[in-house]
């Protein structure tokens, strides 16, 4: 039977929601599941991780070097822990993508990036060519199976469990050649784009950084995260981390509202797993309408205030 180790992603205070989705991927593989939390102080994060249903143990590895998520520091520790497992999983976020291959090379494993479907414990589906084709890959079972779980392909795991939290000491020498300096985040208090159940995105049609306020307003009304097309990011309306699409974030919210976005293939690749897609655009021939479930042709500067009113009226 499979014995799976999942590496938790967190910022020192809270568990990243991508972890909950990777738990679902682990459950699809089946078997015993442990979650490892590498941190300087694992407390709240480990507590949260222990609440997922079906988790056997949460292992905490606390040392000052684990304060920031540096791949070169985490990889040798994960490799040391991996010896007891048949599978090691990480979420397919920038964190997981950074760390996982470094672990793979240390263990001599051919890993699977972006697992979207589990066929059996060693066979998976994953996207290639930016999702324009899907391959089925079979990984060698020995020494172990290592991969990242594509977050847009899995629902967050249910809570209701209470796993034991076990402190682990690992006698691993860590490199000092890489030093964390800091993180600049433009996010604010809005929901996290990668994991939000609702997202409102603006495109080139929004016109300017100032005009983007209209997108934020609608998002706040819907309690949604805010995204943007590559065109809007390239034009400087919003920071890079808000980009949704092939070269940005690939997301799967329940509701996605595309405002003033034409629907370039590279953008559509990032949203095709969304539940309901709404497109608002003044060009009736915009390609976004082809993939949208509900379309509204109109000037966004007229439509959005009306939409806010209609949302208020509903309450």
């Amino acid at each position: 039977m499979a014995k799976i180790l999942l590496i938790a992603e967190h910022d020192g205070q809270s568990l990243n929601p991508a972890t909950a989705k990777a738990v679902s991927c682990a459950q699809a593989i089946g078997g015993d599941l442990d979650i490892a939390v590498f941190a300087s102080s694992a407390g709240a994060v480990a507590e949260k991780a222990s609440k997922f249903e079906g988790v056997a143990r949460v292992l905490t590895v606390e040392r000052p070097e684990n304060e920031a998520p540096l791949a070169s520091v985490l990889a040798p520790q994960i490799a040391a822990l991996a010896a007891d497992y048949t599978h090691v999983l990480l979420p397919s976020t920038t964190f997981g993508k950074d760390v996982m291959p470094r672990v793979a090379a240390l263990l001599g494993v051919a890993p699977i990036s972006d697992i979207m479907t589990v066929i059996d414990p060693t066979t998976f589906k994953r996207p290639i060519y930016a999702g324009n084709a899907i391959v089925t890959v079979k990984a060698p079972a020995e020494p172990l199976v290592l991969g990242t779980a594509r977050t847009a392909s899995f629902q967050p795991a249910a809570e209701g469990g209470s796993a034991d939290i076990v402190a682990k000491q690992l006698d691993v020498e860590l490199p000092t050649h890489t030093r964390y300096v800091g993180l600049k985040s433009g996010g604010g208090d809005r929901p996290d784009l990668q994991s939000a159940s609702r997202v409102v995105s603006g495109g080139r049609g929004v016109g300017s950084e100032e005009n983007f306020q209209i997108i934020y307003k609608l998002a706040d009304k819907l309690n949604a995260a805010v995204g943007a097309s590559r065109a809007a990011v390239d034009a400087g309306f919003v920071p890079n981390e808000m980009q949704v699409g092939q070269t940005g974030k690939i997301i799967a919210p329940e509701l996605y509202v595309a405002v003033g976005i034409s629907g370039a293939i590279q953008h559509c690749t990032g949203i095709k797993d969304a539940g309901t897609i709404v497109a608002i655009n003044k060009d009736p021939d915009a390609p976004i309408f082809e993939m949208a479930d509900i379309g509204l042709v109109g000037d966004l500067f007229e439509v959005l205030p009306e939409l806010e009113k209609a949302l208020d009226a509903r309450a």
């Binding site: 070169s72 920038t94 950074d98 793979a104 930016a130 084709a133 391959v135 890959v137 890079n240 009306e306």
Partner: protein, 249 residues
């Protein structure tokens, strides 16, 4: 300093990828091939480092069939000093590529290795990190800003939460993201000049990489399309009603 830039020959980013009719792979016959766009950004960054006044030799390396010489020639035309093709007609997965690049590094002793964060064919996003691990050196993935010092580098990384900055000792592996730079266009005189620049070839087996595990690809398929349906509504109130009907409000 010496900068090694790893480049991969891939289907051009503007080509619409098609599956072979029998589902055995992707159609590549007669399809335009190019340098992986992220690798092109890596090469551009190397050129800019040299143009900023650093005394740098830039070596472009590729692993692949003879056809990859075409992309190496383009790299030379962009401004690389010399090129090396590690020749193989077989499929090269990331772990194999990393071990192969490690063997090249042992010979070349670069101070910096630059490559794209991922290749746009298999989208694995693995080789740079694997190489850094095998070489026991730092990695800076998703780099969107690179500042070199004499023995270290400051790298700004595009992570999900924003822009993360790390400092790495050299030598190091840096993988490049979209916004690091805008690669230059190659000019005709440079293409002519590139023909006289050295392009060496070595067989993959001559590098003596170990036997390595591989993923076996058992099937290719088209992604499931979105039904969409494009139901149009006339105004905001109708939109809210339609959303309620679908149970998302």
């Amino acid at each position: 300093m010496k900068i090694l830039v790893a480049i991969k020959r891939v289907i051009d980013a503007n080509v619409r990828v098609q599956l072979k009719r029998d589902g055995s792979g992707i159609v590549t016959d007669g399809v335009k091939m190019s340098i992986n766009p992220f690798d092109e950004i890596a090469l551009e960054e190397a050129l800019r480092i040299r143009e900023s006044g650093k005394d740098a030799e830039i070596v472009a390396v590729s692993i692949g069939s003879d056809a990859s010489q075409q992309q190496l020639r383009t790299a030379l035309a962009m401004g690389a000093d010399r090129a090396l093709l590690v020749k193989t007609d077989g499929e090269v997965q990331p772990l194999h590529a990393a071990h192969t690049l490690l063997a090249v590094i042992r010979k070349e002793q670069p101070d910096l290795v630059l490559m794209g964060k991922q290749a746009i064919d298999d989208d694995s996003n693995q080789t740079g990190q694997m190489l850094a691990a095998l070489w026991q050196r730092p990695q800076a993935t998703f780099t969107s800003k690179l500042d070199l010092d004499s023995d270290k580098a400051s790298c700004t990384r595009e992570v999900d939460a924003g822009l993360e900055t790390i400092e790495v000792d050299l030598p190091a592996v840096v993988t490049t993201d979209l916004r690091l730079n805008q690669p230059r266009y190659v000019k005709m005189p440079d293409i002519m000049k590139a023909k006289r620049k050295p392009l060496d070839t070595i067989g993959l087996t001559e590098l003596g990489t170990p036997e390595l595990p591989k993923l076996e690809i058992t099937a290719y398929e088209a992604p499931q399309g979105r039904a969409g349906g494009g139901k149009k509504v006339g105004n905001a109130a109708e939109l809210v009603a339609a959303l309620k009907e679908r149970g998302v409000l």
